[in-house]
Amino acid sequence: MTVIEAERLTYTYPAGEKPAFRDVNLKIEEGEFVIITGPSGCGKTTLCRCFNGLIPHFYGGKLEGEIRVCGLNVKEHPTYEIAQRVGMVFQNPENQLFALSVEKDVAFGLENLGVPREEIRKRIDWALKITGTYNLKNRPPYELSGGQQQRVAIASVLAMNPDVMVLDEPTSFLDPAGAEKIFEVIERLNREMSMTIILVEHRLDLVSRYADRIIVMHDGRIVMNGDPREVLASEKTRLIGVGIPKATMLYKLLKHRGINLNRPPLYSEEACQVIKEFLSR
């Protein structure tokens, strides 16, 4: 089943002179793990805002073309309706938690939906356990580290039990260790609950191994869209300025010198494997 379907989508912010992105055609299937990457200002974040209706309902501006999310036409359904299907996690962990305790924050979305109290409690515990933050339940959010805050933010979206989770650079405020924990949680959601994941990310070194597909955006357009190995090994992707994983980079350098490995690896363990295979050939 297709969960997100965009056709010739073009959007201009109210104050914008030229479109933030144009002519975007995109299909995302249920259960897919998709990474969207590209240099800053290429329109990734703006595109994400369309997935749960923040664009056009919250931002205004001009949205042309068609976009359907979980069968709902984004232009016709308000954000709170789409938000039940599409969970959104943002960049800055600090500005996503606004209650005085973690528990209350995770409850927020469910309270808004009018879910009965007992059910809310159950879902809070469930979401906190999956994200590994159950022990933080009664702490005030401002006392937590960035990584913990971001995992609580994921829990608070998860508690609403969406079909799709959109994460907009969730690790850009975090250190590598914190980032890795976030990716583990995301990967778990995808693998164990077959939740559709759309992740905007620069740290491809850490995360591209989990992806089914990588989309590269540049100057408001989708320029590459396909298998992670193909996309990352392509010369075009490197020239745009995407941070190619070092393992893939090694593959390319070796290829340049006439050494052809079996396939482009995405992380160091895989690179070892591929090199071993090559040597024992």
Binding site: T79, Y80, M88, A99, L100, E103, N112, M160
Partner: protein
């Protein structure tokens, strides 16, 4: 540590902390009314003493001391102003009675500060917001209130970062006369305000993404219930009010000096 720590909620578990904010609010209101009703020293002194056991039950002696120390300057000012104005304008009274009246006014002020301090020290903003909500105040306003409280430490930290950054660029905050000092704060206020606006936009985005406004009857995870202790406090407050009204009408209150001599 500043005076404001004498009013800032600290999460401790005590019988006073567990009281319903509405009950505590009634108590504070009664205390206010009674304190304003009397201007003799003895009843005000009694009001002051009644609250001491509460401070100890709530285990907030240190914070309470801080609020008391913080209000000392104002207390002295109030005492001095009262003393001077009574001395020059109320010519018929003896000096001891003037002294006693000024002292009474000072204690009244201290009682007011004290009850405020106890209320805010022992009431978490979360339950206070909840109490507002359950008193029929629109949810949007209650939400704005708790969120504002939640972001006070964040903004304070941000202000410190901006101050450090501007100092590193050569801004001198502590120099010059009064007006100059106010002007020194402009390069700190502008980035702080701009950041706060940006932050509020991001918050709004998050709220939208979590189905803000999805249904009219939103649930609330917590519910406040009036318990036995709350009823006792309300009862005590009402008793205090009735007794005070009776005393202020029917009983002659002797001055402290007449009792001592």
């Amino acid at each position: 540590m500043s005076v404001f720590d004498g009013f800032k909620f600290r999460s401790i578990s005590s019988p006073i902390h567990q009281l319903d904010p509405r009950a505590k609010f009634i108590y504070v209101c009664v205390l206010f009314t009674v304190a304003v009703m009397f201007n003799n020293i003895i009843p005000l002194l009694i009001l002051f003493l009644i609250q001491l056991p509460i401070v100890f039950m709530a285990k907030v002696q240190r914070e309470w001391m801080r609020s008391m120390k913080g209000s000392a300057v104002f207390a002295i000012m109030i005492f001095a102003v009262n003393l001077l104005s009574l001395y020059f304008y109320a010519g018929h009274e003896t000096f001891t009675s003037i002294l006693e009246r000024s002292l009474a006014m000072t204690i009244r002020f201290i009682v007011l500060v004290q009850s405020f301090s106890i209320f805010f020290l022992t009431t978490s903003p979360d339950t206070l917001g909840l109490a507002l909500e359950q008193s029929g105040i629109p949810y949007e306003l209650c939400f704005a209130f708790t969120t504002a409280v939640r972001f006070v430490p964040v903004l304070a930290e941000e202000a410190q970062t901006i101050i450090d950054a501007q100092k590193a660029r050569g801004l001198e905050i502590e120099s010059g006369n009064f007006l100059r000092r106010i002007r020194n704060y402009i390069p700190i206020l502008i980035p702080l305000i701009v950041n706060a606006i940006r932050r509020s936009l991001e918050l709004a985005e998050t709220m939208e993404s979590r189905a803000w406004g999805a249904c009219k009857n939103r649930t609330n995870l917590y519910v406040l219930k009036i318990k036995t202790n709350d009823l006792l406090l309300i009862l005590f407050s009402l008793l205090l009010l009735t007794v005070s009204i009776y005393v202020s009408i029917n009983v002659y209150i002797p001055s402290l000096t007449s009792l001592l001599i």
